[in-house]
């Protein structure tokens, strides 16, 4: 019973601040909620809120699919980049401490408030948001066209070129959201026993081979962890969350907002399940 005493604060919080709100949220999604003095009134409307969210609301559909698609594009890029960066930072070279400090800087600077203020600052500067976006794109200053031609001549398939170009255009965003993932991969790399590399070297394996035959399998469980973390992390300031927030507190349509958030939860849940099953099949567990 001592164990229960230890988790009691969490249990209370879970019941009153998670479980009950969760049930209420389900209830709200089937009702129209009207704020009354000192409380609220509910009016049952059946599936209307879900119907509205999917078929009536002009934007929700598009925002949901867009942000899920963006998430799917981002996850492999972030995983690839963070594993690459972790491998780089794990090697010995002069100034490694400084490089590590810089690479983890995005962890502390990733702030929704700052991002939105920055965007607003740029809008101020140029007049409207569409122009701001164009200026932002122009400022990135990468000669995209020559790269497309180069990749095309190398015989890359079209979809792959699009993907790479996308990645290059958003390199800052990808680097910015990779901080924690680099940290986790770096910790994983350091837990790989050094003896393994020594044996491989004695047997004549090149560093390239030992990366794929030793490092990659040993850190593969963390690929799953990082994939899930990346997906969850993208909730925090995704456009969908903002839409749900605005629906609740600006248009005061609490029922519709609850329905939207349940649709979002459902989609994300299915996504996590698929990613989890797909990756855990390939994962190698050492112990």
């Amino acid at each position: 019973m001592l164990g229960v005493a230890f988790i009691l604060p969490w249990l209370l919080g879970f019941l009153f601040l998670f479980a009950i709100p969760l049930v209420q949220s389900v209830k709200f999604s089937f009702n129209e909620l009207i704020i009354a003095p000192g409380g609220y009134e509910l009016m049952n409307v059946g599936w209307k809120n879900f119907n509205d969210a999917l078929f009536v609301d002009a934007n929700f559909n598009r925002i949901l699919t867009d942000s899920v698609a963006a998430m799917l594009v981002d996850v492999p890029l972030i995983l690839f980049f963070s594993l690459f960066a972790a491998t780089l930072l794990n090697q010995k070279f002069k100034g490694r401490g400084f490089a590590r400090a810089v690479f983890f800087l995005p962890v502390i600077l990733a702030s929704g408030a700052i991002a939105s203020a920055e965007a607003a600052g740029l809008i101020n500067l140029v007049g409207n948001s569409e122009a701001a976006k164009e200026v932002g794109d122009a400022q990135s200053g990468v000669d995209i066209l020559s790269m497309v031609i180069m990749l095309d001549e190398a015989g890359m398939p079209r979809w792959f070129i699009d993907y790479i170009i996308e990645a290059v255009m958003r390199i800052y965003e990808i680097i910015r959201s990779s901080g924690v993932q680099i940290l986790i991969f770096l910790a994983a790399l350091q837990s790989v026993p050094a003896a393994m590399y020594e044996v491989a070297k004695m047997e004549g394996a090149t560093p390239y081979e030992s990366f794929w035959k030793i490092t990659f399998p040993m850190v593969s469980p963390l690929i799953l962890t990082n994939a899930i973390y990346t997906i969850i992390d993208s909730f925090t300031d995704s456009p969908v969350t903002q839409t749900i927030f605005a629906t609740a507190f600006q248009t005061q349509n609490f029922g519709l907002s609850a329905a939207m958030s349940w649709l979002y939860t459902l989609v994300v849940g299915v996504l996590l399940l698929i990613v989890g099953v797909l990756i855990s099949r390939k994962v190698f567990y050492y112990n």
Partner: protein
């Protein structure tokens, strides 16, 4: 004769291999530095740009020959941003809030993590699965019920029984965040419980058995033996809880949209700036007179720099613990 020639050939071959390896190594080192410097530049560029803007004088805005280093230095932008944000009281208030929440969160999550790591009680596995569930469910799902809950806060109807009113409105106070943090349900608490559980599971059981034999109770063992041993996860959780809380906009705009907190004020800064700057420049209240948008953007950027400055200063001192702590918590193992 033949043997001699073969040997000298072997020596040449060996030397060739050696130089080849050496030059390959050197090439890789150069490539690595190029990569690292490039990525570091991408990360640091926005920061450097803000520093440059913060000390740039108004006259330099339209000078196209300036890159990064301004010609006319000034502290006016910084003074302006401090005045607009009401910086020092704001910073004090934010730091107080964030510190309180961080400590509460670390305490409650450590307790829960230890409970899940060491005790087998009926349903403990199911409950831990529920902890994982709290990590996976997007916050927006609970937003509206939580908001209404704290708008008329009442525990099992006690308040309305005593005063006859419908609960207390806790919005725009520290209480909603403090309550969620103290009950280990705050921002990313599930993750912190997980970190603590993993660490405590990795500690040898003998320590506790020894304490038990020496007559220490369960809580005494935890506070005197286990917690002093749990410095790495405590450090990790405190660092991340602090940083995430400082940057959080979701809960702060939900519960405390009118409070004096850094994330709320920074998000509102662009609007404030374009409204207030003409007044501060003494142009008057004429709505047709507007400040130069470029200048407004400069002040906003300076404000953003001021907002993240405390974090950067803190990071300067603790950055090496970031890596070490994650390595030692055993999240990975």
């Amino acid at each position: 004769m033949d043997a001699k020639r073969a040997r000298s050939e072997a020596v040449i071959y060996y030397k060739f291999r050696k130089t080849k390896n050496k030059s390959l190594e050197w090439l890789w080192a150069a490539f690595r530095y190029a990569l690292i410097i490039g990525i570091s530049f991408v990360i640091l560029y926005p920061l450097l740009q803000k520093v440059s803007v913060a000390v740039k004088a108004k006259e330099d805005i339209y000078n196209p020959t300036i890159y990064m280093v301004p010609v006319n230095f000034t502290l006016d932008n910084i003074r302006m941003a401090i005045e607009l944000l009401d910086y020092w009281p704001l910073l004090g208030n934010t730091l107080l809030f964030v510190t309180v929440i961080t400590l509460l969160q670390a305490a409650s999550c450590a307790l829960a993590g230890y409970g899940f790591a060491r005790f087998d009680f009926p349903g403990s596995n199911v409950l831990f699965t529920l902890v994982i569930l709290t990590i996976l469910i997007p916050m927006s799902t609970l937003m509206v019920p939580m908001y209404l809950h704290f708008r008329s806060f009442d525990i099992l109807g006690i308040v309305s029984l005593l005063t006859g009113k419908d609960g207390v409105n806790l919005l725009n106070t520290f209480w909603p965040s403090m309550i969620t943090a103290a009950t280990a349900n705050g921002l990313k608490s599930g993750l912190f419980i997980y970190i603590f559980r993993q660490f405590f599971r990795g500690l040898p059981k003998e320590i506790e058995e020894a304490a038990l034999i020496d007559g220490a109770g369960g809580f005494k063992t935890f506070f005197r033996i286990m917690l002093p041993n749990a410095v790495p996860p405590l450090l990790t959780v405190i660092l991340f809880a602090f940083v995430w809380q400082y940057n959080d906009t979701f809960f702060t705009t939900l519960f405390m949209s009118e409070s004096n907190l850094m994330p709320v004020n920074i998000a509102a800064l662009p609007a404030d700036a374009s409204q207030q700057i003409p007044l501060m420049l003494g142009v008057g209240t004429n709505p047709n007179v507007k400040a130069d948008p470029n200048y407004v953007a400069m002040v906003v950027d300076t404000g953003i720099l001021l907002a993240i400055l405390p974090l950067i200063v803190m990071y300067w001192f603790v950055q090496r613990y970031f890596v070490e702590s994650v390595e030692r918590t055993g999240v990975v193992g």
